[in-house]
């Protein structure tokens, strides 16, 4: 066999395999194997011998359990839309730099350092029934009774927004600022107004990034766990599917049922991902068709 030059694009040789092996082995043993094992476990229920779909049937026939899917969707979908819309608005307008850009970016990114616990403690205190926010509104005479903003959907949404906005914003900022400004400039030179530039030129270019941002935020929101416990009603209105899975695993100690719920959660996330990517395909096609007609 011919000796390969260093760095030459090639098929895999011994060195390449030796370099890839450790991380590949790691991912296979600690990610793929547990995943497959979880699927296997989910069809081996504790109460029924042998292979059976009893866990899945149990989940979808028990109202307390299948309700969690609806609850999770009701949290994840509005949250995804709000987070991505706000991120797009900011990232788009900051694409060519703004006044105090570094400061603004730092402030918008700061919530990453707060951590979910401090965030929930702060939201509970600040937006709580006797918190500063309500005290202020009551003091100004804008309200008769304090607003109930915590231990319900609103509380969880607030916390999710603060956690996910920085990430989504940074992703889109990186993506949008990477688009060649001369494209936009030519559109402006040809007489397009800013709105037309956004809709006809920039949006089709941003669409792939936007779709991935949508998908990532949706998938993350669909697995909401600590926020739903700390700021919601973990046994009632905000009992998300992740809480249901956790409760089966570490409170009922039924790992088989818990794995089944985790699989169901994964399938719904996958479905959401596919829908978003399909929508994106149609959106891009519609955009290019629209441009093509003129």
């Amino acid at each position: 066999m011919r000796r390969l030059r260093i760095g030459e694009p090639s098929e895999l040789d011994l060195l390449a395999m030796a370099c890839l092996a450790p991380s590949l082995l790691y991912v296979l043993v600690l990610f793929v194997y547990p995943f497959l094992y979880g699927i296997y476990l989910s069809v081996r229920p504790m109460k029924v011998p042998g292979f059976s779909l009893a866990n899945y049937i149990a989940f979808f026939t028990d109202q307390y359990q299948y309700k969690t899917v609806g609850i999770t969707f009701r949290l994840a979908v509005p949250n995804t839309i709000v987070v991505v819309a706000a991120s797009l608005l900011f990232a788009y307008n900051m694409r060519r730099g703004i006044w105090l850009e570094r400061t603004v970016t730092t402030i918008l990114v700061l919530p990453i350092s707060l951590g979910v616990i401090l965030l929930s403690q702060g939201i509970l205190g600040f937006y709580g029934g006797k918190g500063w926010f309500n005290q202020m509104l009551l003091g100004l005479g804008l309200l008769e009774d304090p607003l109930v903003l915590t231990h319900n959907f609103t509380g969880v949404m607030l916390s999710l927004f603060m956690q996910q906005f920085p990430f989504c914003f940074l992703m889109l900022l990186g993506y949008i600022s990477g688009i060649d400004p001369s494209i936009e400039n030519s559109a402006r030179t040809l007489g397009a107004n800013p709105w037309t530039v956004f809709r006809r030129v920039m949006l089709p270019l941003i669409a792939p990034g936007l779709a991935i941002a949508f998908a990532l935020v949706f998938v993350m929101s669909f697995a909401t766990f600590p926020s739903a416990i700390l700021l919601g009603q973990p046994t009632g209105a905000t009992r998300t599917i992740a809480i249901a899975a956790y409760a089966q695993a570490f409170e009922q100690f039924d790992m088989s049922y818990a794995s089944a719920i985790a699989v169901i959660m994964g399938l719904f996330q996958l479905a959401g991902l596919l829908i978003i990517l399909l929508l994106r395909k149609r959106m891009v096609m519609a955009a290019t068709m629209g441009v093509g007609k003129r």
């Binding site: 600690l30 547990p34 706000a86």
Partner: protein
């Protein structure tokens, strides 16, 4: 004119965001120093007793020790595993590459709660669940791919000519690695290391699912103390949360000196395949 209004609206939103952030952080800070606080705009008296209380009652010395140990171990091991893989993925083209990239991408894409439950189940079945080693191994699952994806562009920037030149002058692979690749990817290693450090210290889901009584990191210990609501005075939890925030904020400030903010998230323009 419309552009002006638009800009004004944006800065208004930033203002609301700041006020909201300030309200949340200040509330926790004031509460951590409060003697008693209920329903008044400000507490009646201030004290630092909750910090000493939290330090002693929550065994924070041990928790902090574990957090730092886990974080450093995860950084070291993830870079060790990720570095060679990133080199090959950046330099070579082979048939299985898109599939391999997708495989490495999955632990970052799939929420930790989804694969954390089967992972924890597997670990507890094999007797490593609940130990510090178990926590390190679990947190590394998304961190090894993170290291790979951060390091790859740094390798791509190094010209192949350097490697060829070194080889021509008689350097062997080890020398090329030590004299060429390592020094030139040092900024990448630093970037990846800091980001992995921040992510590990603030990792909740995987650590929570896999840790046991003796292997809780700061975030998880915090969560349990909030969850045990009523047993712990809220002021002491706030004091602990404040310590956590200070720690991560310091890390973040250090990180932002070396890392562009948009590097904190994985790149969207990097196709999966």
């Amino acid at each position: 004119m419309r552009g002006r209004l638009w800009g004004l609206a944006l800065y208004m939103f930033v203002l609301v965001f700041i006020l909201n952030l300030l309200g949340i952080v200040t509330h926790v800070t004031v509460s951590a120093f409060a003697y008693r606080w209920f329903g008044t705009p400000l507490p009646r008296g201030f004290t630092v007793q909750w910090f000493t209380y939290a330090w002693k009652e929550f065994g924070l010395a041990q928790v902090l020790g574990i957090t730092i140990f886990v974080a450093l171990a995860v950084v070291f091991l993830s870079l060790l595993l990720g570095f060679p893989a990133a080199y090959i993925l950046a330099r070579r083209n082979f048939r299985a590459k898109p599939a391999l990239m997708l495989l490495y991408f999955l632990p970052l894409l799939i929420p930790q709660m989804t694969y954390g439950i089967p992972l924890a189940t597997t670990m507890f079945r094999h007797g490593i669940g609940g130990s510090v080693a178990g926590v390190i191994l679990a947190v590394m699952v998304p961190m090894v791919p993170l290291a790979i994806f951060i390091l790859m562009p740094f390798f791509e920037q190094i010209s192949l000519n350097l490697e060829w030149g070194a080889a021509m002058m008689g350097a062997n692979r080890l020398q090329i690695f030590r004299r060429i690749l390592l020094p030139l990817t040092l900024p990448g290693l630093l970037t990846a290391g800091i980001l992995i450090l921040v992510n590990t210290v603030s990792n909740f889901e995987l650590t929570f699912l896999v840790s046991g009584a003796g292997s809780q990191t700061l975030v998880v210990a915090l969560f349990y103390n909030v969850f045990a609501g009523g047993v712990r005075p809220v002021y002491s939890v706030d004091a602990m949360a404040l310590m956590y925030m200070t720690m991560v904020m310091l890390l973040l400030i250090v990180a932002l000196r070396f890392v562009r903010p948009t590097q904190m998230v994985f790149r969207l323009d990097q196709p999966k395949g």
